[in-house]
């Protein structure tokens, strides 16, 4: 477990020369920086344009409010004959209007002799200026006029009393309001930039890896082998550029050397066979044997080694396709609910989501054996097939039952693909890069979570919600194509990339028994379940409800939730590298869980921090904590899979782990529901934090007991 010296193995990742890696990083940073700067400039220009359009629209709103109120006041004064000074409840009415129209700053009724008679929220500095405006004539005596007073756009509506406009209604719009509207858009634009950057960097990383890292890693492998006297590798790369030409030269040189070697061997053989003195013949034979031992010439084209990171792009595309409908799915379901539903409205909305998860969990269990038989890439493609059919079916659905059936098929695809990806990572990672390999998987999930809902919501507004499922189907095909190109093995026998264990004889419930007798597995599961529970209870249930109660708009809630995903996407690669470097996976998961648990307790200090700030601190702490947990946790799981590979199929171990892991997703919402019935939201969040801390303490104790047992056994 911890402290194990990482065994450096021959992976493409470790083969990349430092210079090439630095070039890759410089290119990535250059692309990212140019992208970021251009995005900021574009967004700033866009905001300026928005400001020009939103200002007049806010004035229109003020005009509408002013027209309606002045009509009512004119009616009361002229038709009902109540003098302006005798009107009752005007200030209260103004207050009521302002409370439901946040974009209006103030309302005031001003009369010639009396000055300001009724007002609400008028800034003190303006109170003295209103009476003066009654005498000003700007040619718009009978209609409403707008002027800038003390930083406010003041709309003045004359109110005629006995044929004279001695009174006026003032409706104020603050330029600060426009800025507030723009600030809202500004935060949304930041979210937009994040989404755009994540997609761009995903593509850049994929492209740079394919074009620079993979060929140079492979070249490095050939050069390193050659420098040790092994000239058996050739590079298969067809490209009409400097790399392609250099590879041709390399292959030519190796071919030339091999030809020379064949001639050399032939000549030695001839000399040996022609020699009649057996002693000399033996000496020549010895020279020949020594040479054969020194050099390796088997003339084989080396196959480019598959890396764990190859899964990232197909998996990202799939998660992206699945997440496109996330933002509107409950609303979409509501359109299918029959007039007389069999269950409550809320239940009918949540049923397709719940059954999707159930189908995914069941598929995860079945996927274990399927991966063994078919291989990761084929299982991925089968999962894509299910997902594609599910999306098309959802697009064509006419009723609630059909919708549920197709969504369950989607769930099956989801479960199969998750298992295929985790198995792929487990099989293609090595002892020294397990956490970093897992970060490709974790990063793809959260990049999809960050980008999908935003773009899906936008597309849905333009092309309709149902059409989004067609777009998802198209993306799933792209994902399948990427998987076919990147993951498929050149020799395609069943189970080729399934990590089949030839001696695996354990079936049925036996793998469960073996895994659950391992303390490390139990402690990992405890951490995993508590992480999932935090995610589903805190982030998916409590945050939206609590922030809504605190008066935040759904956009603000979405942005705060997005922060979690952004922290994971940015932080996971760094923490995974650190985890691989220090090799203390379990310690990192304990630290991460402790951080997230303590972060959740921040809501208890709401009185000092402020409610919203406390929630924000909790989200950041949970995000940072999960950064520390996610990749190392998968790394530990891969260690366990590797440890039992001779007894249990890797995919079966992963299937069992995923099944138990997902229990946290089911526990979370239930736990949240129970807690909020008993206590306020802030306390419910803190309670989940306390549960996480208890779980991680238990997990650490179990892991330590396991380690002591291992030490005891080895010393005995």
């Amino acid at each position: 477990m911890d402290g194990q010296k990482a065994q450096v193995e021959d992976t493409a990742d470790s083969q990349v020369p430092a210079r090439q890696r630095s070039l890759f990083l410089r290119l990535l940073m250059m692309g990212g920086a140019i992208m970021l700067v251009s995005q900021i400039v574009i967004s700033w220009i866009a905001l300026k344009g928005f400001e020009e359009e939103l200002g007049p629209e806010l004035n229109q709103k003020a005009s509408a409010v002013g027209r309606a109120l002045s009509t009512e006041l004119t009616y009361a004064i002229n038709e009902l004959g109540i003098p302006p000074g005798k009107l009752v409840g005007v200030s209260e009415y103004f207050q009521h209007i302002l409370e439901s129209n946040f974009d209006i700053q103030y309302l005031a009724l001003v009369d010639n002799p009396s000055g300001v008679m009724f007002e609400h929220s008028v800034p003190d500095k303006l109170l003295d200026q209103f009476p003066a405006t009654l005498h000003e004539s700007d040619g718009s005596h009978n209609s409403h006029s707008i002027r800038d007073i003390g930083g406010y756009l003041d709309h003045r509506f004359p109110i005629h009393f006995k044929g004279d406009s001695s009174a006026a209604l003032h409706v104020g719009v603050s330029s600060g309001n426009i800025r507030q509207q723009l600030a809202t858009i500004f935060f949304e634009v930041i979210a937009v930039i994040v989404v755009s950057m994540v997609i761009t960097l995903e593509l850049l990383t994929m492209f740079m890896s394919r074009r620079i890292l993979d060929p140079t890693a492979h070249l490095q492998k050939v050069l390193e082998a050659g420098s040790k006297g092994k000239f058996s590798y050739r590079l298969s790369l067809r490209a009409r550029n400097e790399i392609g030409l250099m590879v041709s030269s390399l292959n030519r040189l190796l071919y030339h050397l091999e030809q020379r070697y064949q001639d050399f061997q032939f000549e030695l053989r001839e000399l040996r066979d022609a020699q009649i003195d057996p002693r000399i013949s033996q000496k020549i034979a010895a020279l020949k044997t020594q040479a054969s031992k020194r050099y390796g010439f088997t003339d084989q084209f080396s196959v480019i080694e598959k890396t764990p990171a190859l899964i990232r792009v197909p998996f990202f595309l799939f998660i992206f396709s699945e997440e496109l409908s996330r933002s509107f799915f409950p609303l979409f379901v509501s359109g299918f609910i029959p007039v007389e539903p069999a269950l409550s409205y809320e239940m009918m909305i949540s049923l397709p989501i719940t059954l999707f998860m159930v189908a995914a969990v069941v598929a995860t269990l079945l996927a274990g054996n399927l991966t063994h038989r078919l291989g990761c890439s084929r299982l991925f493609l089968i999962g894509i097939g299910c997902a594609f059919a599910g999306y098309c079916g959802t697009f064509l659905s006419d009723n609630y039952t059909e919708l549920i059936i197709w969504r369950c098929l989607n769930g099956v695809g989801y479960g199969l693909i998750f298992n295929a990806c985790e198995t792929w990572i487990a099989l293609h990672s090595r002892a020294g890069n397990r956490a970093h390999s897992a970060s490709a998987y974790v990063g793809a999930i959260f990049a999809g979570y960050v980008c999908g809902p935003s773009l899906g919501g936008m597309f849905a507004d333009h092309v309709g919600q149902q059409t989004i499922f067609l777009i998802s189907a198209g993306l799933s095909v792209l994902s399948g194509y990427a998987a076919y190109r990147l993951l498929a093995s050149s020799s395609s026998g069943p189970g080729k990339n399934a990590g089949s264990a030839p001696n695996a004889r354990v079936f049925g419930m036996r793998p469960w028994a073996i895994l659950f007798s391992d303390n490390l597995f139990i402690s990992t599961i405890l951490t995993a379940i508590s992480t999932r529970t935090t995610l589903s209870a805190f982030l998916f249930v409590l945050i939206p409800l609590y922030l809504n109660e605190l008066g935040h708009s759904s956009t603000q809630i979405g942005q705060m939730m997005m922060l979690y995903g952004v922290i994971i996407v940015i932080g996971t690669p760094a923490t995974s590298r650190l985890a691989d470097k220090i090799g203390k996976y379990f310690t990192m998961t304990v630290m991460g869980a402790t951080l997230s648990g303590l972060g959740l307790l921040a809501t208890l200090a709401s009185d000092h921090l402020g409610d919203s700030r406390a929630v924000l601190i909790s989200i950041v702490a949970v995000g940072l904590g999960h950064c520390l947990i996610l990749s190392p946790r998968y790394a530990i799981m891969q260690q366990i899979v590797y440890r039992y590979r001779h007894l249990i199929e890797s995919s079966v171990s992963i299937g069992i782990y995923q099944f138990v892991d997902r229990i946290g997703l089911i526990i979370g919402p239930l736990l949240a529901a129970i807690l909020i019935q008993q206590m306020p939201y802030a306390n419910a969040i803190a309670a989940i934090g306390a549960i996480v801390l208890v779980a991680i303490t238990l997990s650490a104790i179990i892991a330590n007991v396991g380690q002591s047992q291992i030490k005891g056994e080895s010393s005995a």
Binding site: P17, Q20, L23, L27, M30, G31, I34, S38, Q39, V41, I42, I45, A46, G49, F50, E53, L54, K61, A64, S100, N101, D103, Q181, E188, V189, V192, S196, I199, T200, L204, I212, Q220, L223, E224, G226, F231, A239, N241, E242, I243, L245, M246, L250, L253, H256, L257, R260, Y261, F264, E267, L268, L271, A274, I280, I284, L287, A291, L455, M458, D461
Partner: protein, 264 residues
């Protein structure tokens, strides 16, 4: 046609950058549309709220919904604001009882409005919103003095105005972003070329060194000198190749010597 590695890599940056800028522009425009639409909805929500107050005041006086005197009010609001297409009052069955456009009185409202209105009534929201192809719709339920929903008031406003604003922003963004994208692409392109050129030169030199060795022109380490290649593994590899050649030569000479009896 030969395109250098640096050129090809730099070229691929172009569609990636364009895509990133296009996504940002599209999402920004979408957010603008949403904010603008919310402002419009908020304005017309206020208007419908005011008219509903008038209606409910009359109903409090005992007038049934169908006998209200509100046509003039509806027409006045319709005339006041050019963006308002129609204001209608319908009853529980969806029959239009009053309208700013008298020709629609007696018509039935679309089914969708009824379902949205009923759904909204069950949640107790003061207003409901929906979109039609050419119009935005803002509705508010009308309640009698017993708190029962007896119908709804619906205001339709032209989407042309919103679409026009979005189109104008889109044109503005297209011009500005094209310029920004052009500059970004040029910078990215030349930066990538600059970063990759050194590596490409090195690859080229490596190829030349290997060609020199394989063409038997030179079989010693001097082939590596003055090439400027700073690739340790390549140096080791070339050394190993040259040593192998040399080793084979010396082994053959030794074997020949043994064969000829010059060495024992």
């Amino acid at each position: 046609m030969f395109f250098g590695f640096a050129f090809r890599v730099a070229l691929v940056l172009v569609p990636i950058l364009v895509m990133g800028i296009a996504i940002t522009s599209a999402l920004s425009l979408h957010k603008f549309g949403q904010t603008f639409s919310n402002l419009l909805d908020s304005r017309f929500e206020f208007v419908t709220g005011q008219i509903r107050n008038d209606i409910e005041t009359q109903m409090d006086l005992g007038l049934p919904l169908e006998n209200l005197q509100i046509t003039e009010v509806l027409e006045a609001y319709g005339l006041d604001d050019r963006q308002i297409l129609s204001i209608e009052v319908f009853d529980e069955s969806g029959l239009i009882l009053h309208s700013s456009d008298s020709s629609s009185i007696g018509d039935l409202i679309p089914e969708e409005w009824i379902s949205i209105w009923r759904l909204n009534a069950s949640t107790g929201n003061p207003s409901w919103f929906t979109q039609e192809t050419d119009a935005g719709v803002v509705g508010t339920p009308i309640r009698n003095n017993l708190g029962q929903d007896v119908g709804s008031l619906v205001l339709r406003y032209s989407r042309d105005y919103l679409d026009q604003k979005i189109r104008s922003q889109a044109r503005h963004l297209l011009v500005v972003n094209s310029a920004a994208a052009g500059i970004a692409i040029l910078i990215a392109f030349f930066s990538a070329m600059y970063l990759l050129n050194q590596v490409c030169r090195e690859f080229k030199s490596m190829g030349e060194v290997m060609d020199t060795i394989s063409s038997d022109r030179q079989k010693d380490i001097s082939a590596l000198r003055e090439t400027g290649i700073r690739h340790p593994a390549f140096h080791r590899f070339i050394s190993a190749i040259l040593v192998t050649y040399k080793d084979m030569e010396s082994t053959i000479i030794r074997a020949r010597n043994l064969d000829e009896g010059k060495e024992r």
